[in-house]
């Protein structure tokens, strides 16, 4: 089990993380949120200023005292493929074992097995320079896992590859990480769904949500988690009739939230109806009819549908409807009946 509090004031990070043994945590955040910094602190590549991190019974760092990177049992798959270009693929994979004085034949045999596992059978003698991006990523994965880490860190493991290679790497990792304690830094919801059981959402160096994947993806409490999950997050207050949204409008929603308490609603833009304001009869706004009038702030083509963004809401329309809409024009978003949930953050 990993229990970490990472503080790096120079990089603006102050984050608490927890990963159960054998579980995988997705560290979700935008570029620059501090994902890489957290992984590099845990690996010992960069130094945390304060805080502490304990992996099982081993202290990785405690305040300013730090364990050497090689003695942590923490392997990292960096975002750039840092293969050792001067060595063969086999020697790359055997590097961790050779560093721990495993004999050359034994280390090579293990490397050979690992190359089989990642789908690169017989590539032992190849040079990294001759491999494709996806193959290089596989070598890096084999090299990290061959060192038999207690904790595996993966920085955007499926990014920077073409779509097919990316999917195949994700499937490979889903298989390999089953019983490995791991953290996967990503900005892609698919990585979280496929690879992780839990999610920590990172914003400006701090963890703002820390819960199971299902909880975060279905009931996000932060805009970034909602956006990664493809949802629009609405904030408001529970009333007798529904949820009175911050900024006006009332929508109907079931919920366990007590009347008067803050409530959240996550809406799928595909479920939101959008109509030109003139086409919708005006109704008293206090009724929980789910109609919210907002000005169009952006019109985003998404294949066969077009997403219309307002200040808070977004909804999908077909191309013909979208062609009639102009920026700044008021439109009526109709939010379907949905389920609201509380804003508590007691899940960390």
């Amino acid at each position: 089990m990993l229990d970490a509090h990472i503080v790096s004031s120079s990089r603006g990070v102050d984050a608490r993380l927890r990963v159960e043994s054998g579980a995988t945590l997705a560290l979700l955040g935008a570029n620059g949120a501090g994902k890489s910094t957290i992984l590099e602190c845990l690996a010992g590549i960069v130094s945390a200023d304060a805080g502490s991190a304990r992996l099982g019974s081993t202290w990785l760092h405690q305040g300013r005292s730090r364990l050497a990177p090689g003695r942590r049992g923490v392997a990292i798959l960096t975002q750039d493929d840092t293969l050792f270009e001067t060595m063969t693929v086999g020697d790359n994979v055997a590097y961790g074992l050779r560093s721990r004085r495993v004999s050359k034949p034994r280390a090579r045999a293990r490397a050979h097995e690992w190359l089989d596992v990642v789908g690169l059978s017989g590539a032992d003698e190849a040079r990294p320079g001759t491999l494709s991006g996806g193959q290089r990523r596989r070598v890096a994965i084999a090299r990290a896992l061959a060192s038999e880490p207690t904790l595996m860190l993966l920085d955007e493991p499926c990014a920077g590859l073409d779509a097919e290679a990316s999917t195949r790497i994700r499937m490979l990792l889903a298989r390999l990480l089953v019983s490995v304690t791991a953290i996967v830094a990503t900005h892609d919801a698919i990585d979280a769904h496929v690879l992780a059981s839990h999610v920590a959402v990172l914003e400006d160096g701090a963890v703002t949500e820390h819960d199971s994947v299902d909880a975060v993806m279905e009931r996000p409490r932060t805009a970034i988690a909602a956006s990664v999950a493809g949802l629009v997050l609405l904030r408001g207050t529970r009333t007798a009739t529904g949820i009175a949204l911050d900024g006006g409008g009332v929508i109907a929603a079931e919920s366990d939230v007590v009347v008067g308490a803050p409530a959240l609603v996550a809406v799928r833009p595909a479920d939101v109806r959008v109509a030109r304001h003139n086409d919708v009869p005006l109704r008293p706004s206090a009724r929980a009819d789910g109609v919210i009038v907002e000005r169009v702030s952006a019109i985003e083509p998404r294949g066969d549908r077009v997403r219309v963004h307002g200040a808070r809401l977004a909804g999908d329309v077909d191309a013909a409807t979208a062609a009639q809409l102009r920026l700044d024009e008021p439109v009526a978003f109709t939010v379907p009946h949905c389920r609201a949930y509380g804003d508590s953050r007691d899940s960390v």
Partner: protein, 254 residues
């Protein structure tokens, strides 16, 4: 070619400054006597001494220069610039001044004279020392530049895999530095081979002991300009071959 055309005449002018003297040198070589001249006993003695001392100096420059480059790289940045300037001084120092400085340090009456004086001054070791003095900065500069171009990511990853610092150095960093080391070694060797001023000042000009090829060339230039030109051509050829084979300008590396 992407460079503007007006660079061409300037490049031509610059090249003339280098090429004309070489053509001038070649024009004075007595081609029919070239082989006998460069294989005369005096010439062979000097050439052999030059090759041996320059090789030894290159080896010493590598053994000392590579660690210096690593230490420079580890220094805090405000000290690094100063330390780099000190190490690179022999590059900009007139060789005679270098020879004088060596004399005051390692000569019989020098600072370390009690320790080295009788053993070093006016021996072949003095030649090697003078050549190392002027050649060392080339090794340091080449490796310093190559280290600065490295991000250190590979070393960091190697460390996470359990490699000790020594293992990281020998398996990751040094293999990646091979081109830079070769470049530094070639430049150091070429500089050592051509060393004149510091050698003459510090080691003197004893035939077979300290009289290297450049010293012999200088000595014979008035009595036998043809022989001097013939021997000079040998040094030019050695330099061209060495630089062509092993000199690779620093490029962006990971």
């Amino acid at each position: 070619m992407t460079a503007p055309r007006w660079l061409l005449p300037l490049a031509g002018g610059g090249a003339l400054i280098v090429l004309l003297p070489l053509v001038g040198l070649a024009s004075r070589v007595p081609w029919s006597d070239w082989w006998p001249l460069v294989t005369s006993e005096a010439a062979l003695t000097a050439l052999s001494l030059s090759l041996r001392t320059a090789s030894a100096a290159t080896a010493l420059a590598l053994v000392g220069g590579i660690p210096i480059a690593f230490v420079l790289h580890e220094l805090p940045s405000r000290w690094r610039a100063l330390a780099r300037a000190v190490v690179l001084i022999p590059l900009v120092l007139p060789p005679v001044v270098g020879g004088l400085a060596l004399l005051f340090a390692f000569g019989r009456q020098g600072l370390a004279g009690d320790m080295f004086g009788s053993a070093v001054a006016f021996t072949t070791w003095a030649v090697v020392l003078a050549q190392t003095f002027v050649a060392l900065p080339f090794v340091v500069a080449a490796i310093d530049a190559a280290l600065a171009a490295r991000s250190g990511r590979l070393e960091a990853v190697a460390a996470t895999l359990g490699a000790s610092r020594t293992r990281v150095l020998t398996t990751i960093t040094l293999p990646a530095l091979v081109p830079a080391i070769a470049t530094g070694a070639v430049l150091a060797f070429a500089r050592a081979l051509g060393e004149f001023g510091a050698t003459l000042t510090f080691a003197g000009s004893l035939e077979g002991v300290t009289r290297t090829a450049p010293l012999l060339i200088y000595l014979t230039r008035e009595t036998d300009p043809g022989a001097a030109a013939a021997l000079s051509l040998v040094l030019v050829l050695v330099a061209i071959i060495g630089v062509t084979v092993a000199y690779r300008p620093a490029k962006a590396v990971s």
